[in-house]
């Protein structure tokens, strides 16, 4: 078997000191294989965002090991982490985080500004940004500014931005949290397409409808992983199962 793209062992993230200490992550183990589509679920405050920040090299763990693509990145300095982010990771945020003063196309071009491992000229960069926007179905909206786009369209621009450096790993923290169900479906469709093209996708979500679209659901509780998913019903979906069962009983 290939080296997993994400291999996390006994990860701790401690915030604060003394009385106010919070173990946001308390011995989490996570393994994601190359090309997987994984959802991360868990109650609010269970450490999902903290985990995503560490996977995304935006933050460093207090202790534990994190191998990204076989390389230990848990002790890199800020400049090296930035380099890893630009090469390996595409982020999609709940709040889109587009720069309002830039057009959709310019927003998508941003990550290439900081991409040092590939020498691309302005023409090639533009071509890639256009291709990324076309891939999310916004080929007709390239010159539009964020305030001229719907929430779903803005999130698609953000996905195009995450794609443009062709990273092997895309991380999305509640990408549909601010969207209606129709837009959510469109976003998920794009994720499926990327997944089919071989990109590894990790999505944090509260919505079971979103989570069940993934291949498996990693379930977090109080900073540790209670289920890696795969077989059976995820503990994070049990309450929903119960609710639907009760609803069915009630109608019968």
């Amino acid at each position: 078997m290939d080296t997993p793209i994400i291999e996390i062992k006994n990860l701790f993230k401690v915030y604060g000191e003394g009385e106010a200490t919070v173990n946001a992550l308390a011995g989490a183990d996570v393994t994601v294989q190359r090309g997987e589509f994984v959802a991360v679920m868990g109650p609010s405050g269970s450490g999902k965002s903290t985990l995503m920040n560490i996977i995304g090299c935006l933050d460093r763990p207090t202790s534990g090991a994190y191998l990204l693509d076989g390389r230990d990145v848990s002790r890199l300095d800020k400049n090296e982490l930035a380099k890893v982010r630009s090469q390996k990771i595409g982020f999609v945020f709940q709040s889109f985080n587009l720069l309002a003063r830039l057009s959709a196309l310019d927003n998508v071009m941003l990550p290439m500004l900081y991409n040092l491992h590939e020498k691309t000229d302005a023409h090639e960069q533009r071509r890639r940004a256009v291709a990324a926007l076309e891939a999310v179905g916004l080929g007709q909206r390239m010159g539009h500014y964020p305030n001229q786009l719907s929430g779903g369209q803005q999130q698609r621009v953000a996905i195009a931005r995450a794609l443009v450096n062709q990273p092997p790993l895309i991380l999305a923290d509640e990408p549909t949290g601010n969207l209606d169900s129709q837009s959510s479906l469109e976003i998920l469709e794009i994720f499926h397409r990327l997944h089919n093209q071989g990109t590894t996708i990790v999505v944090v979500t509260h919505e079971p409808d979103v989570a069940i679209q993934a291949q498996r659901i990693i379930c977090l509780r109080d900073g540790s992983v209670v289920s890696q998913g795969g077989e059976g019903i995820s503990p994070c979906l049990e309450s929903r199962e119960r609710a639907t069962a009760q609803a069915q009983e009630a109608t019968e």
Partner: protein, 407 residues
């Protein structure tokens, strides 16, 4: 990220808030422009002094009564000038000068008020390198005998007699009738002395008729002169002549040669003294200009700090997309440098334009100092780097997670 791209990003950042960027730059513009103007003004003042002194003639020694000593202003006498002319070797002329208060002149039906009179000895044209336009200057003999002769400045001759020749005409100064025997060649205005608008008279006549007798009590010599100019034959004899003149006058005034009641100065001495007097003024101006440049820099630092705070979320996003702390540092540092360099460019233009305008308006003589342009420009760049560095490090230090969460 390559340099051109960082500059591009920094430029976009500044365009976010054009008015604010401009106002921030204004501080640097004023600083740079004032450095250039201040230096031009003081260089202009120095040039005016040097020009004035040099216009007196070449190889000249200037003997003046020592200032600040009671009674000394009246110690230099016409006889002193005569003694120098007779006893000192290596000189080609001596001219004593005295100027009474301005007088009213009437001639040819024209009345001119407030005309400056200069009493000189016969050597005046030679000593002062000041040629005659027509006619002749009076002789030593005529001076001694107080003959009522006058030589007119070129402009004054035209004012009084127009196209007509002034030679042989008579004019009235105060109540005294004099005959015009010469007109000086045009020399124009040097610094604030209008050579062409004055009249030149035998000094003995001036001392006799136009100098007020001193008020009772203080013994005032009627034959005191303001300045004695000595024309030295050549440059290499200047030191010898100074020694001779000092010894001669010391013995005539009965004072110790090491503590004379007069000064013997070369033109260079006088220029140096005058420049020393303006140096303090120039230094003060330079400080004021420098301080305004620093104030401009503080303005840049202030706005950059505001900008970093306002754009925290953007900084976080850029970091999440792969920007290294170094990239962020450079972006903000370059923004500050662009601001200050833009201020430098506009400031240089304003400074050069301002110096030119001052000169044109005739209020102040200005002399653009070429070195002041790179100096001011370099200072502006240094201000940008110095005051831009701190805000830039604040931006680079931001934690991307914290920055992204900021509203």
């Amino acid at each position: 990220m390559n340099f051109a791209k960082i500059v591009r990003v920094a430029w976009d950042g500044l365009n976010l808030n054009k008015m604010r960027s401009f106002l921030t730059t204004l501080g640097v513009i004023i600083g740079v422009a004032s450095v250039i103007i201040m230096l031009a003004v003081s260089a202009g003042a120095e040039a005016a002094i040097a020009e004035q002194i040099n216009s007196l003639g070449a190889n000249l020694l200037i003997v003046s009564p020592l200032r600040g000593v009671p009674g000394a202003a009246r110690t230099l006498l016409l006889e002193d000038a005569n003694a120098i002319a007779q006893q000192v070797v290596g000189i080609s002329g001596v001219s004593a000068e005295q100027s009474p208060t301005a007088q009213t002149i009437k001639a040819n039906g024209v009345t001119l008020e407030g005309i400056a009179l200069v009493g000189t000895t016969a050597d005046f044209p030679v000593v002062r390198d000041y040629a005659l336009g027509e006619g002749r200057y009076f002789t030593a003999d005529e001076d001694e005998r107080k003959i009522k002769l006058v030589v007119l400045g070129a402009g004054l001759a035209t004012d009084l007699f127009g196209e007509q020749s002034a030679l042989g005409q008579s004019i009235t100064i105060g109540t005294l009738r004099l005959t015009v025997i010469g007109v000086m060649a045009p020399k124009g205005q040097v610094a604030d002395v209008d050579y062409d608008g004055r009249v030149y008279l035998p000094i003995s006549l001036v001392l006799d008729k136009f100098m007020p007798s001193g008020p009772g009590g203080i013994s005032m010599r009627r034959d005191a002169v303001r300045t004695i100019y000595i024309k030295v034959e050549s440059q290499d004899k200047i030191d010898s002549v100074i020694t001779q003149v000092t010894a001669l006058l010391a013995s005539r005034h009965d004072v110790d040669a090491s503590q004379p009641d007069f000064t013997v100065q070369t033109q260079q001495d006088i220029i140096a003294t005058q420049e020393a007097a303006t140096a303090a003024f120039r230094d003060l101006l330079a400080w004021v200009a420098g301080v305004s440049l620093v104030v401009g820099g503080i303005g840049i630092m202030n706005i950059m700090l505001v900008s970093v705070t306002e754009r925290t979320r953007e900084i976080g996003l850029r970091m999440a997309l792969g920007a290294r702390p170094t990239d962020v540092l450079l972006q903000f540092l370059i923004e500050a440098i662009i601001l200050s360099l833009a201020g430098g460019v506009v400031g240089v233009l304003a400074g050069v334009g301002g110096s030119y305008l001052f000169a044109q308006l005739g209020t102040m003589r200005t002399e653009l100092v070429p070195a002041s342009i790179p100096l001011a420009f370099g200072a502006a760049a240094a201000v940008g780097i110095f005051f831009g560095y701190y805000p830039a490090t604040q931006a680079a230090k931001l934690d991307p997670i914290v920055a992204l969460r900021r509203e």
